[in-house]
Symmetry: C2
């Protein structure tokens, strides 16, 4: 083979290294993307890299809910029409976007920035749980407020939910979690048996 | 929905726009990649964008074969052990890399930088055909040299091959093209009928 490292140019090889560091992008796709960028006008490529640099350098997080935001307080926390006495606790920015996209929720959020995972070395102090506790503590008459734990249903999610529950237990705030059961439109035949079993045990009144 | 354009931040939205301009990357994947980059250390992201900017701004093309190169003359053209009297004409940088990866070719290349395509508005003058003709003209005793047309087998490829053939015809250089037929290991049952038909017509002597 004529080329060291299989690449005709060190610059190309370094760009492929960089692009293939993205999750889900292999070296073949990275090469395709690098050669695509090479064909684009210079300004287009600079605009591309600038958008990424600016996102990384200038992004802000809402001082209240820790969501990505262009302002110090995000558009949801500063929206007076939303119910400020309901706080939905989620793992990540994407979860907020997913719940917002449903159009079914009108309270505020709290983004943990991760989930408790001893294996990955992530403990409560790496997350925004302290800030959440302060938000709960600052609520007037907490027994009429609600904290929704909208974390994933795996071991880490359950652990984190339980940890947060123990932290806010004393305040008297109502703590709820997402409804679990068969998805709407799901076929019984293809449901996993744990979900199906729990759906029978936790059956709901029929609403015609 | 609380967010304009579905994104909580203009910076995030612009980064997603930029990333989803890449071929084969949709807006969902672009969001995933943008949020991944946001979690990386700042230096990592700067290294990523710098590698791409440097590739675009500093890349050179070999003055002889037009391949991507770090030098003015690429490592293949400057390799004295290669057969400088055989020139393999390919569409793109990737084709050179593919042929090099086979380890079966020891001549030089000529990268056209595209293919003649009236629909895409690409004519002979947009490619490096003129430079190719000059290379052929500069060869001593062209009748003992060879030009391999290694272009794709579609209409554009055939048109380009024919155009180049007409340009170099007078020089006396031997012009060949890639062998076409069933792939090695291909199953007859799944071969397309055009390839199969041509493979019967152009059958080769059996070499045991």
């Amino acid at each position: 083979m004529a080329y060291k490292d299989n690449y005709p140019s060190k610059l190309l090889s370094e760009a492929v290294d960089a692009i293939s560091s993205l999750p889900g992008v292999g070296r073949r796709s990275a090469l395709r993307l690098a050669l695509h960028l090479l064909k684009q006008p210079s300004e287009h490529v600079h605009h591309f890299t600038e958008a990424i640099d600016q996102l990384r350098d200038q992004v802000k997080y809402c001082s209240c809910c820790r969501m990505i935001s262009d302002e110090d307080v995000c558009s949801i926390c500063s929206d007076r029409s939303r119910d400020s006495r309901t706080i939905c606790v989620v793992e990540s920015v994407r979860d907020v976007m997913s719940i917002e996209a449903t159009g079914q929720y009108h309270g505020l959020y709290h983004v943990l920035g991760g989930i408790i995972s001893p294996i990955a070395g992530i403990g409560p102090s790496d997350l925004t749980i302290k800030e959440l506790c302060e938000r709960v503590k600052a609520l007037e008459n907490p027994s009429s407020a609600e904290l929704i734990l909208a974390l994933s249903g795996d071991v880490e999610g359950e652990t984190t939910s339980f940890y947060i529950y123990r932290q806010v237990e004393g305040s008297g705030i109502k703590v709820s979690s997402l409804a679990r059961g068969l998805g709407f439109g799901d076929d019984l035949e293809y449901a996993d048996s744990l979900t199906l079993g729990r759906s029978i045990v936790n059956r709901q009144q029929f609403k015609p």
